[in-house]
């Protein structure tokens, strides 16, 4: 069956891709933005100032990995790791080279995840942030390798890991090797956990497929942004399987929390202080 027009965040909607913290000079007050949810129109600057969250209806628009790091990390505290790792078309999959080139151009990243070490509210932590503008955060071999290395680094240095997930799932252009990343990262998460280290992750719109079925659901604390699509199989795949309409809200974070799989929903503006507080609460108490 053919796929119809995109209707959920998994399938992407290029129209609503906004770039935050872009040269402030080229976004004048004149540039207007209309929220696709509440239909209110206001200046783009206003949207950017509220971290790409609609100030009227709280719709959380996508932001890049770098923008998230800017919001989250204490200033100049972020040191990037493993940025030298670059994916290649290992299986010789048709059209993948072009897709990769396009993804690099669009996201200005080498891969769908940015890893490193930073401080959040003064507490040192390892951090990975996936980027929705790189093939919708799909998980390739390098994505898995970078996250695995980060967990190993955090294990060796007894650091917590904070992770931001956004992903359409495993990257099919890397075939079985992308599936194997699920097992590889999971094993590293387990080792990190077995040494009594904290792993906290934040699910953002959309978190799905192989990422949901691995490290997105393995954290000690799982948070989510409001209304994020959190699922294993996306709505359209389910509709094709069971030939029934899937109600829009049942795979949204609020519902997934009701079903018991998310600890709390935290808006973008309060994430830094919320995560900072949790990191502090996990510091060992010495008598």
């Amino acid at each position: 069956m053919l796929f119809k027009r995109p209707k959920n965040s998994l399938e992407g909607n290029p129209k609503i891709q906004l770039k935050l913290f872009k040269d402030k000079s080229d976004t004048t007050d004149k540039e207007m933005f209309t929220c696709k949810k509440c239909k209110k129109t206001y200046s783009k600057n206003e949207l950017l100032e509220s971290l790409n969250v609609c100030p009227f209806c709280n719709e959380h628009y996508k932001i890049s990995a770098r923008e998230r790091l800017n919001i989250l990390c204490d200033s100049v505290s972020f040191t990037e790791h493993y940025s030298e790792l670059v994916s290649c078309n290992i299986l010789g999959f048709e059209g993948y080279d072009e897709k990769l080139a396009e993804a690099r151009k669009q996201s200005k990243e080498n891969e769908s995840v940015v890893c490193g070490v930073c401080t959040i509210e003064g507490i040192k932590t390892a951090i990975f942030v996936m980027d929705p503008f790189f093939m919708m955060g799909s998980m390739g071999s390098v994505t898995g390798e970078k996250i695995t290395r980060l967990f190993e680094y955090a294990t060796d240095n007894s650091l917590p890991v904070v992770g931001y997930c956004v992903s359409g799932g495993a990257r099919m252009q890397e075939g079985i090797l992308s599936l194997m990343q699920m097992a590889k990262v999971s094993a590293a998460v387990k080792r990190h956990s077995d040494m009594n280290n904290l792993y906290l992750c934040v699910l953002t719109d959309p978190t799905s497929g192989g990422v949901t079925a691995s490290f997105a659901m393995q954290a000690d604390i799982i948070l989510s942004e409001p209304k994020a699509l959190v699922c294993f199989a996306g709505p359209r795949v389910i509709e094709q399987t069971i030939r029934k309409k899937v109600p829009d809200d049942i795979q949204r974070a609020e519902c997934v929390m009701e079903n018991g799989f998310i600890d709390n929903i935290v808006g973008r503006k309060s994430q830094k202080s919320y995560i900072g507080r949790l990191l502090k609460m996990h510091m060992r108490y010495e008598v």
Partner: protein, 256 residues
């Protein structure tokens, strides 16, 4: 034979399913039902059996035989409770120092509303997480279709073997063709590109051994299993888990 021919054979009617392998390779198979949390998922078979003189935990995805049986087993597509039942038996195996032998044959984890509500993703994630460090020998054999995460949730092991006509893939060729080329008739092209045959997977280091599908298959499998399990039972448990970690650690490490 092209990749899509393997896909068709792997799915073909009359092909041996998990139950046949259990019956032919093991003795005294004793099935155990239910995940102790929600229900008994018949797409996953769990139980105890002897591999010659070694008591083992046997876990497998079963597609079913006749139409009625297939419906009951949901065509081998497990719900979260199926994976949770499997994990419960893995933990028991670890407790009693029994090796675990798994058979994989599934189009994929079930994609339905209830499966989502009960945490399909979480169930698979928990299996991958726990299986990476279960302190007992584990072996997984792909006997038919290895459909993505639903197959991987029973395929984290010390070694993974594959029947010569089995396939193992991150997405079905139909799904791949439909998403990438908006044309589900391009399944053959998708099958080639996905590198899903036993030969492909062996050269990628994803499986250790290809099992020939001839009339002595059950005996050969039995003997090979017996040899591997005995070897791994002698290993120190931490060493075994470290070897398993290393097995997955090297996958797709393109830069070294």
């Amino acid at each position: 034979m092209n990749a899509y021919d393997h896909v068709l054979i792997a799915r073909s009617k009359g092909r041996n399913t998990c139950i046949d392998f259990i019956k032919e390779i093991f003795t005294d198979f004793t099935e155990m039902h239910g995940d102790r949390r929600f229900k008994d998922d018949m797409a996953v078979i769990c139980g105890l059996a002897y591999l010659s003189d070694i008591p083992c935990t046997v876990i497998g995805l079963e597609k079913g035989k006749d139409n009625n049986d297939k419906q009951k087993r949901n065509f081998g597509s497990a719900h979260p409770e199926g994976y949770r039942k499997a994990l419960r038996h893995m933990k028991l195996a670890e407790k009693f120092n029994r090796p675990i032998i798994m058979f994989v044959d599934t189009p994929g984890a079930f994609c339905g509303i209830e499966a989502e509500q009960r945490g399909q993703g979480q169930a698979i994630a928990e299996n991958l997480y726990e299986m990476s460090a279960i302190k007992t020998p584990m072996l997984s054999v792909l006997i038919g279709e290895g459909g993505s995460g639903g197959a991987l949730a029973l395929a984290v092991a010390d070694e993974v073997w594959m029947l010569e006509n089995a396939v193992y893939s991150v997405i079905s060729p139909e799904g791949c063709a439909s998403i990438l080329w908006k044309d589900s008739s391009k399944v053959k092209q998708a099958s080639e590109n996905l590198k899903l045959t036993a030969d492909d997977l062996k050269s990628l280091g994803v499986v250790e051994r290809i099992i020939e599908e001839d009339e002595t298959i059950f005996k050969n499998l039995h003997d090979d299993m017996y040899e591997l399990i005995r070897k791994n039972l002698k290993l120190d448990k931490d060493e075994l888990v470290l070897k398993r970690y290393t097995r997955y650690r090297r996958m797709g490490n393109l830069n070294d």
